[in-house]
């Protein structure tokens, strides 16, 4: 994009797989930092932006949005990995499989028949998979959508030649730094902060709305105990299961919790 004088700028590509494009939109919406960013890196591929480079063009950093749902996705992803120095997932879909991974527990052939008039034209894998299920991921940026602040910090770190620093602490820590009163305690709200990874700045609870796990599981999650806490607030086991079976339902910790509280694969009923 930005023809540099002497040393070539690092090349960045932003690739899209099965997703709503919300993470790319968040990126486009970052404001003046985007102008600053284009002075630092060469964005060679970003469909949302109108820059399209072939997947086999070597890049320094590839950001991946979206999950892997078709055989063609797998081919593209392998090419991208082979041609990228660092590969970072961007958002819930790429990092854990996204909301669309809810279909992983269903019968693909059956729902395809029920949705499409001619299902034989649809080529789809039986699951929506995280990028890491197929290739090595260097760093994960969670969120639905991803936090642009985190993305920029990751790019800055890579430009400095250091690993991005991505905290896995619970949302509660940031919520408390903001001086919020805990709505779980004051209102009995089923806020998922105690099991959810930081990164959003405790956005929802700061406005009195319960966290719904869009940044995925934090480190050292105690899903069983927390599920019991939610039941203590009046939720049924089924409702608890659905709390975990949200945007990051296929993240292993959350999918195990879903199983635990639904007693069986809950999609089947």
């Amino acid at each position: 994009m930005n023809a540099s004088a002497n040393t070539p700028m690092p090349k960045v590509a932003i690739h899209k797989f099965a997703s709503c494009s919300g993470c790319q939109l968040a990126f486009v919406n970052m404001g003046t930092d985007l102008i600053e960013l284009t002075k630092l890196v060469d964005i060679v591929h970003m469909a949302e932006f109108g820059h399209v480079a072939p997947e086999d063009e070597p890049v320094d950093v590839a950001f991946i949005e979206g999950s892997i749902t078709t055989p063609h996705d797998v081919e593209r992803l392998l090419k991208i990995r082979a041609n990228s120095r660092y590969l970072l997932t961007m958002g819930a879909c790429a990092t854990s499989g996204g909301i669309q991974a809810l279909r992983n527990n269903a019968d693909t052939a059956e729902w395809m028949r029920s949705v499409y008039a001619k299902p034989e034209f649809i080529q789809s894998l039986s699951s929506s998979a995280a990028i890491a299920n197929h290739v090595k991921v260097d760093f994960e940026l969670w969120g639905c959508p991803v936090s642009v602040r985190q993305m920029l910090a990751a790019i800055r770190s890579l430009l400095f030649g250091v690993a991005p620093q991505i905290s896995r602490e619970k949302v509660c820590q940031e919520c408390k730094r903001r001086g919020n009163n805990c709505i779980l305690v004051t209102q009995g709200a089923p806020c998922m902060g105690p099991v959810t990874r930081t990164g959003c700045g405790a956005l929802c609870p700061s406005f009195g709305a319960p966290c719904y796990t869009c940044y995925g599981p934090a480190e050292n999650v105690n899903a069983q105990s927390f599920g019991m806490c939610l039941m203590g607030l009046g939720l049924s086991p089924e409702q608890v299961a659905r709390k975990f079976a949200s945007i990051n339902n296929a993240a292993p910790v959350f999918s195990e919790a879903t199983q635990l509280f639904s007693g069986s694969a809950w999609m089947e009923e």
Partner: protein
Amino acid sequence: MKDMRYFPRAGLAELIAAIKESGYRVIGPRVEPGQGGLAYREIAGVEDLPRGLSDEQSPARYRLHPNGSQRYFAWANTSSAIKPFVFTPREKLWTVVRKEGRLHFEANHEVAKKTAVFGVRACDLAALALQDAHFLRGAHTDVFYRARREKLLLVAVNCSHAAETCFCASTGDGPEVSDGYDLLLDELDDGFLIRHGSTKGAMIMTDLVTQEASPEQISQACAQGELCRERQTRALPEASRLPGLMQRLESPLWDEVAERCLACGNCTAVCPSCFCHREFDSPLLNGKHSEHWRDADSCFSEDHSYLVGEVVRAHTRARYRQWMTHKLATWVEQYGRTGCTGCGRCITWCPAGIDFVDEANKLLSAEEEA
């Protein structure tokens, strides 16, 4: 009791006005509109205070209820103590500019505002003294803490109401305030008793119309405190028994509490004496300068005990053990007393409702049986 004065309830507005006229922003207990519960927030005047409200606290639960009275301070405590106004949860320490390969470091100079905290409790004043010991009295002073601490005016109100989670009587820190205040109030049915504990407080009192407190008013105030003490149902083990926790480091009870603990760190965040914080850099996107910050941190986070390639306290069992043994046992080696002042916040604000006092009692009674 000789300097005790009385003023009717309507005088409270005057007192707040006098504090504001002395150049303070006034922080007081108020209902947090978005989330509910009481929090210390900036107040304009008495209209922002929780008149006629009482708190109901129990493990993992905090609710406010109308109590039918005209009182402003018929509650036990707020969600946070004085801590955020001196040890701020996020602070910029310094900035570094990189120019032509050279690094230019610039210290951040905190310009603290004169701040009055209105309605502080005995437990919170005791915890403030603990934080003073940590941030001010070592070989190195925390300049940010000190700047804010020096600008603080503390208006304490003796407790007339104990929550179910309160246990300050057992730590010896309440319910009556003993020192550390600039002004101290007792709320009665129709007004307040007031006395000063510093020159700053005395100066403000001179602007206030008061009369001599009657012996009846004074004994009413004492009776309230006594009732508050009697109503406390929880009690920590005696201080002399607490070092026994260090003999129980391999107790199976730590595993038992770890089954319930969410390792979310809410207890450490609301604890009025917890001081841990982590440092980090926040570089500008263009790389031309970087800011060095600190964030309040928790011993329940993995970063807390991180060493290259290893997290020393990898499991919740070890993290909960660190939290409790530091607060109740090893703190004594550091600051001459325990780090707990009996406010009960760690019990109320634990989403899993873990009862710190109960756990400590269980651990120590297990020790004595062993």
